[in-house]
Amino acid sequence: MMEEKLLYKQRPGIRLTAAIFLCKACRAVLRAFRRGGTSLPGKIALAIYPDVLRRCSCGMKIILVSGTNGKTTTCRIIEQGLRAAGIDVMANRSGANLLAGICAEFVANSSMQGKAQKQTAVIECDEAALKLVIEHLSPAVLVVTNIFRDQLDRYGEIMNTRNGMRTAIEKNSSMTLCLNADDSLVVSLADSLENPCLYFGVDEGEATIASEEKSDALYCIRCRHKYSYGYKTYGHLGDFSCPECGYARPERQISAKHIIAMYDDYSLIDMSIFGQCHEQKIPLPAVYNIYNSLAAATGLHSLGLSLPDFGDEADQVYGFGRMEKFNIGHGATMILVKNPAGFTQVISYLSNLNYGYDLMCCLDDQLADGEDVSWIWDVPFENLAAHERLIGNVYTAGRRRGDMYLRLKYAGFTPAKLKEIKDDRSFAAKLDCRTRPLFILPTYSAMMRLRPVLAKKSRSKDYWE
């Protein structure tokens, strides 16, 4: 009787250790064969011991970052801030941000008995997976960057994404929410909830007639009246308010009071933290990275920390594939593109450059990219075609390079500049960028395919570092 009870008590322990062991072993094998970013180890662990993630993350301080765009960059900055404060931190740096991938990271951080090694984690979480992930994790902080229309075949309508995130948040009333105040969809996540809440935003933008802009959130989420805007920063982000029901942008505790200057490599802002202003350098270009930095600053603030001193080590915040620079000839820069909102920002960044460059657009249609490639028609390539005198060659690559080629043709690029590249890996391997720098804009799978080739050429670190 006594023995039987003991055995019963031991069994979960054995199962847990088995789950952890197999997960670690599988991961090691996959890495030995240079297959990074995989969900298999996590799936194995969860199958053997469904509670493995909760066990391995027990007692840890977890900062979760979710939203459509900017998750990776925001995580990198938060991580850097924690490191600068002397805190040893784990993170899912490879971008495996679904339940299985996140699980594998926590298992890797734990002992065979399920005890966490590093005590702090910065985790990016796919917005559609948040609902599920939050059942396994108890984050102290949730940062939401923004909600944009994304791959329709995977996420469904934008409201599904928002509703799924809301359900997730309702499950955890104690975690601190760090929300983008300029995004009406994100703000609605905290509606009538008791969670402690911090808002970030940009306090100036372009005055615009709201109806002229393409927007993912035209109508009030509460009463379906049309929003009015004092100004917009990009997409549907800005100083929104509903004239009918009064739903409006909340006060920002952390904000960019004023954008002093934006350059090709960095921006300068007047940053306000609870009313205290200081000049802050954002070591990444474009307005969306100002948002990412504000998101990170808000996340860090909730932990009693502030943005790190970026100094000259700006390269550290370049998440892989996000404005990542490879040291080849005049330079190759990779900018991941996933959806119309993000791509539109990249287009506006490129349109502001005043030097010549080549361009390579790699469009894939695997599950991670979205099987439906229709979204490229929502990206204003026409704006880029208007600057084509600065662009040498425009290469299209990837499994759906034909669709990308058509998009660029119809955007008005001179046909002689457009070139289809069949085998983009060998193209990347031969790259010398001798005449001009190159911007590579890949979707997710294309990035995973090309990045190791470029990393090898420029001898930067592999992505599963």
């Binding site: 229309r149 329709l152 075949d153 309508e157 934008i158 409201m159 109806s211 393409k214 927007s215 035209l218 109508y219 379906r224 049309k226 099987e371 439906d372 490639v373 229709s374 979204w375 490229i376 028609w377 929502d378 499994r399 759906r400 390079r401 034909g402 669709d403 080629y405 058509l406 998009r407 043709k409 119809y410 955007a411 457009l418 289809e420």
Partner: protein, 243 residues
């Protein structure tokens, strides 16, 4: 020659790259020296529809549907119906296509009254019909093979006197049951091929443009264009769907 094109509700019916069809029509007209004049007609705007030659309506999200129906029922519905009866050319995609039928019934059995311009209805059923698909247009709609992407939970059922746009080769089409795809009524072309159906399917695009031009100017021939890139993209999806 000139075509006046009206983009109906670009502010809400713009689900996924739908605007690509407008870009495509405009370019293919201009490359042939035909003027294309595009007018966006948004919610709350009430121009007369009589001046336009060609209409486009894309797909939308459920969230904005209420706003849209309110606006339609403020008079635009009657104008759209008379434009259709007058033989004006329409391309309607996904949600915009469904909008021309009698009603949409959701899975709880609640009906939403639509335009009733064409005799068909749409019922939502569990399971979305999603993926690359292909269909062949009937000869009366040009006879070309079309590759597109569908993503809908609504199943459309055509009335007895209404012809489909084409026959499904791969995928689901109107309802995944009867192999019909889209609708062709007078000069209305309705399809589930959401987003930018026209760029990769230049024959369909040209057939629609020709329909609108002939309606306005009488018999005409379109100059051939260099469609190598279009055919390559078309063939790439065809290959993808073979295996």
């Amino acid at each position: 020659m000139e075509l006046k094109i009206c983009h109906l509700y670009p502010d809400v019916l713009n689900l996924y790259g739908d605007g690509g069809n407008i870009i495509c029509m405009k370019k293919r007209l201009e490359w042939r020296g035909i003027k294309a004049d595009i007018t966006n007609l948004k919610i709350g705007e009430s121009n007369s529809l009589a001046d336009f030659d060609l209409f486009f309506m894309g797909g939308g999200q459920d969230f904005e549907q209420e706003v849209l129906l309110d606006d339609l029922h403020r008079g635009k519905d009657k104008n759209i119906i008379s434009a259709i009866e007058d033989g004006k050319t329409f391309l309607t995609v996904c949600g915009g296509y469904q909008m021309l039928g009698h009603y949409y019934e959701n899975q709880a059995g609640v009906r939403c009254e639509f335009l009733g311009a064409i005799d068909f209805y749409t019922k939502s059923k569990p399971g979305r019909l999603t993926g690359n698909y292909s269909f062949r247009c009937y000869p009366i709609s040009g006879g070309s093979t079309v590759f597109g992407f569908e993503n809908h939970s609504g199943r459309s059922y055509l009335g007895l006197d209404v012809s489909p746009l084409g026959k499904v080769i791969n995928g689901f089409g109107n309802n995944g049951e009867d192999k019909t795809e889209g609708v062709r009524y007078k000069n209305v072309f309705g399809t589930y091929s959401h987003g930018p159906v026209l760029p990769k399917n230049p024959e369909l695009c040209d057939f629609i443009l020709k329909t609108a031009l002939e309606q306005k100017y009488g018999k005409c021939q379109l100059l051939p264009l260099d469609d190598d890139a279009e055919h390559r993209a078309h063939a790439a999806v065809a290959r993808k769907m073979m295996y």
